[in-house]
């Protein structure tokens, strides 16, 4: 299937673009990691996402999960 058709088909079936869906899955995964591990800084999590810096990561995390990631960090 041609790429454009795959993207269109994806949107028609799941009501979301492939990019948005992947982002949603990634941030849900990071959220789970944060709950189950002792992260103390956001910079430790930036690499797991497609973002370049902590500010962008925090913004995207809040967008997909609805929570400020700083509030989920463990206190040292």
């Amino acid at each position: 299937m041609i790429p454009g058709k795959l993207r269109k088909g994806f949107k028609l079936v799941y009501d979301i673009t492939p990019y948005e869906y992947r982002q949603q899955c990634v941030y849900e995964y990071i959220y789970e990691q944060m709950k189950n591990s002792n992260y103390t800084t956001l910079s430790e999590l930036v690499d797991m996402s497609n973002t370049q810096n902590v500010t962008e990561f925090a913004k995207q995390f809040k967008r997909y999960i609805g929570v400020d990631p700083k509030n989920l960090l463990k206190k040292e």
């Binding site: 058709k5 795959l6 088909g9 492939p18 990634v26």
Partner: protein, 246 residues
Amino acid sequence: MAGFKIFSKFHGELQLQAGLPKKFNKIIPGAECGYVAHNEMYMAFQRVKVGPYGLVFSHYNGMSNSDRYSCEDDEPVIEINFNIDGKARIDLTSHDWVVFQPEYHEIMILPYVKDQVHFLTNNLENFGIHIPYSKFKLLAKKFKHLRPLLKAYENQKFGFLNKKIPIKTSIKSMALLIQLTQRIERGLYDQITLEMLEQLIEQSLVQDIENKPSKKLKFSYVDIERVINFHRKLRSDLSVPVSIKI
């Protein structure tokens, strides 16, 4: 499959045998199987139950387009029949000759079966859902468009949801059907499969009645299967950042 008979215009009644043809690989675990083999062609039928619903997977291979086939069954049926692959002209118990294309389906009430088929392609693949009367009664309470069909069934008459059968299957229904089939092929006859099946029935009815799918969208079952596989791929390996370029 007692009472189910198949005929060829040129060769008369074709004997239905238990089991599946040799080299047939689309096997449904735990299905009641029957097949007809004649020269190079075969027709394979697999029937399973999911909750109260009967599901029939039919595969036709090496069909002659010069012959005309017919099938007969005494049992009344409330059926949604999806055409997955291949093309045929069908006469549903003297309703009328119509072309049944891939990605189309039909919803019908048959007090008995006496269908005629003229295959336009060598292969044809169908998936049929048989809805029990008790369930159809509940559906007719929910969807008023089904009430004439319920009446037809109760009076042992023929009934079709749309005058112009068959109907284009929506992309969402195609996706649901593929996922349902994949579960059944893995032998999963559980509550999730049953819920998926009931969702497919309702979704098909709602879309047929309220939002008729666009005929302009050209997506085959193979295309939608690729979409589902891509969805799975995006969900996997979340620890590894990937860039999505499609």
